[in-house]
Amino acid sequence: MDEGLAGYGELVRRAWRTGKFLVKGPGRPTSLLKAAGTLGLQPRPRAGRGAPGRGGEKVPEARRSVRGEMEEIVKRESAEALGSLAVHQEGTMKLAPFVKFREEKFGAVLFETRSEKVFTLNKTGAAVVRAILAGAGEADLVARLRERCEDKTGKLEAEALSFLKQLKKKGLVTE
């Protein structure tokens, strides 16, 4: 622990013991938080109002790196609302009632909320479910997948249709 942190720890313990949460500084009494600043712990600067990054404002580095990651996460999780908003039409498929879908880094999960069964999917499986949520029918499922995924092995059609069969068999997807 560096000197500042050790001093801060002592300050907290003393305040806790004595009940005095004001610290005598060189001048007038100051708050514990302000005193921590003098011991090497600077309080986090207060974020300005308005949107960080707009109008050429400087976005702090830490915030910028999290924002980049967050944009990726939000993009990945964007199919989540589709399951509840899709208007079902003739010839299309949908997730069965009480089944939720969330894309993850490794692919996706399907969660049956009543039985609490969780099914993990790889990226191809995730792409199949996403296409279903976007309104694909069995007839155009493969064509839709080809728009989004490369078929390097030439097995996309067979794998996708086999996976769809499993989804239906387990009652996770319905017509």
Binding site: G50, V66, E71, A81, P97, F98, T113
Partner: protein, 317 residues
Amino acid sequence: MLTKTRVEESLERIRAGMEARSRRIAGRVGEQLAAYVSRPGKMLRSRFALHLGAGLGVELSKAETVARAMEFGHNASLLHDDCVDEAGLRRGLPTPNAVYGPSVALLLGDIAFTQALEEVLDLHPRAVERMVCTTREMAIGELQEEFLRGSADVSLEAYLGIVSRKTGALFEWGAAVLSDLSPLEHAQADPPKLGQAVGIVLQVVDDIHDFTLEGDISGKERAKDAAMGRLTLPGVYAVADPASRAPFLAIWGAAGKEPGAADRLAELVERSGALAKARAKCRAIVRSIQALARRLPVQAEARELSSFLDVMLKREF
């Protein structure tokens, strides 16, 4: 049948129940602070819970308990949101963060969450577990939104995903618990999905109101979302349209800083057709909800739920 009078009677009981909890807290934190925890607003969540509960054949007193928990959960999230937004007004009254500071408001929000949990401790074995997951999803949605502040790179799907978590999750919770409590077969109505969609549509309506309503009607500052750098649905549509993208972003960047920017932004989203697209999206979502509602076991009550949604869509308050 859950008539208008019976709904109002139920709402009165829900309010009374919240006040009773408030009185218990008041003994520990004082009446003024306790009032923030239990003060209800328009009670849209309660109305939703009452109508859906009736459509599922759930005992009225149990639906009222679900409603109370939703109101407490909602209050908790508002108390925290107002700290995040540094909001001075809520429901036309000064926020506790403005009056007492954010640390007090955050702690009041924590108390409100515990009240939501206490409400449902004995309601159903899975109610608390579901509420824990819901609280997590709401907080994650808020965090995602917080870190996308100022970003114009928000797609329609991404926006709806965030809204499904930060607002939809609590409605989904209420609907899932009512589904657990229902004595009737109703799987095809899929209440959790129905609830999540209702939450999304109410949030989108709020987003539209952020541009269209004056502060004295909505009870909060106009174009608050834009001032905070949040791209909500009308903005998502405006940015996606090449004709309105540049002028929108220019005014959006000034919102909250330049006087008159909020009015100019509201005018632009109206003129560009972005508001019309957002309203059309709302109508489409309501149609999908009504399709699910038609599968509820008590059809007369399901029609009341549909009417409630129509009113929510048209409301200007």
